[in-house]
Amino acid sequence: MHKFANPARFMRLSNILLPWTTGLTIVLFGFGLYYSLILAPQDYQMGNTYRIMFIHVPASYMALFGYGVIAVASAVGFIWNHPLANQAARATAPLGATFTALALITGSLWGKPMWGTYWIWDARLTSMLILFFIYLGYIAVWQTIEDQAKAAKIAAIVAMIGIINVVIIKFSVDWWNTLHQPATLIRAGGPTIHGDMLAALLLMIAAFNMFFVTLLMWRIQSLILKRRIRTLRLQLGGGRG
């Protein structure tokens, strides 16, 4: 465990991996975009607007995936006081928040032609919105606390409480909404999805995933370097006397 905690080893490993993941991301995006914009047929109901799906669905998955990464990394960081895990959790947060925002934006852009309004208080939409807030709170914790060790611990507590809350919210919002407005609006796809559409979607999801991993490694690298620089600067600045 602690072998992997070593930032030098991480830097070495990620320096080897990064070119590959970057390349893979580009290739996957190339294929994915080709499939989704050109190969996949027009939808007989939604016309071309449904193509938003190829951004929307992967972004939604990444939003959830990101929070999972934060939760796991936080737990590891909190229990074993694992510096790299803490940095990983920290690095994931803005990525996850961005993908959440992307899911919200593409979703509501899609909602306008589908439902005639950008936003309805549907259970899934609502819990996504709250997930976004939880991301923001988590990021704010990191931003507010200067001392990294302390920030890591407090952010980990926030993340772990947050994951409980995501579950409770998901479930309570379902309750809240079924009483007032049965959710019948979403769901265009389902099992009847066209083969090329499915391929395109899967490719895009894979591309987004690679993209996510690549960005994450980059961010962890830059956080480690930043920390290194800060330590050196503090030593230069804050000698004794």
Binding site: A5, P7, A8, R12, P83, E146, T231, L232, Q235, R240
Partner: protein, 228 residues
């Protein structure tokens, strides 16, 4: 098995700034250890580490062969910590403040008598926000007297005290030592304690370089494959 409080190999890093390392100390019963050192040399940090309020980067503190570092239970029954801040509620009177802490720390002696000892008895019924800086410090010292703990950790206890107050404090500390108590105090002022009972620890003997500290944080030489 030894009744000496011993610190081994202590190191401290604050906000990524290395403060001290390899620090060792010994504190037998009835003795005082005075921490000296320039501003920013880590006196307050050391006291907080011993009190369990700050995690040490490394090292241990043993007492009867147990590591008491971070042992909340032991600490709470044996250590009395006086910080830069006075821990008094401005809205409550001095008497109320002292009574509250005494009850929480499970001290059951006479509070007024202790207040007389630090010369704050005439302010017992004043709210703390009405006190001058020195009076408030005296009230905080009264809290120390109303604590059953054997170990006193005092962070600049003389701040704000007039010269009579400083003498008073020195007498109280001498008393505590006579009763077999122990004191760790950070101060810039000569208190005039019995030299036979006093050891001085100079924080400047334990400086910590950034290079070392970084290794410490990341547990392995780093420069070999990464230069910046």
């Amino acid at each position: 098995m030894s009744d000496i409080l011993r610190g081994y190999d202590l190191a401290c890093i604050r906000g990524e700034k290395p403060v001290f390392s390899n620090l060792e100390f010994e504190l037998p019963p009835g003795q005082a250890l005075i921490l000296s050192g320039t501003n920013g040399s880590g006196k307050s940090s050391l006291l907080k580490i011993i009190a369990g309020l700050l995690p040490a980067q490394r090292g241990r503190i043993s007492f009867f062969d147990e590591n008491i570092l971070g042992d909340q239970d032991w600490i709470s029954h044996n250590i009395c910590y006086l910080a830069h801040k006075n821990s008094l509620k401005a809205e409550m009177t001095v008497a109320e403040n002292l009574a509250f802490w005494a009850a929480l720390d499970q001290y059951d002696g006479d509070i007024r008598e202790k207040a007389v000892k630090v010369g704050i008895d005439h302010c017992l019924d004043l709210p703390v926000c009405y006190l001058s800086s020195g009076q408030a410090r005296r009230a905080a010292l009264a809290r120390v007297l109303c604590h059953p703990g054997e170990f006193w950790l005092l962070d600049e206890p003389t701040v704000g005290l007039d010269s009579k107050g400083v003498r008073l404090l020195a007498d109280l500390m001498a008393d505590h030592l006579d009763k077999g108590g122990r004191i760790l105090a950070a101060t810039h002022i000569e208190l005039g304690l019995d030299p036979a009972k006093t050891t001085t620890l100079n924080m400047l003997d334990y400086t910590f370089s950034a290079h070392e500290a970084f290794h410490e944080l990341f547990q392995e030489p780093w420069e070999e494959d990464f230069q910046c």
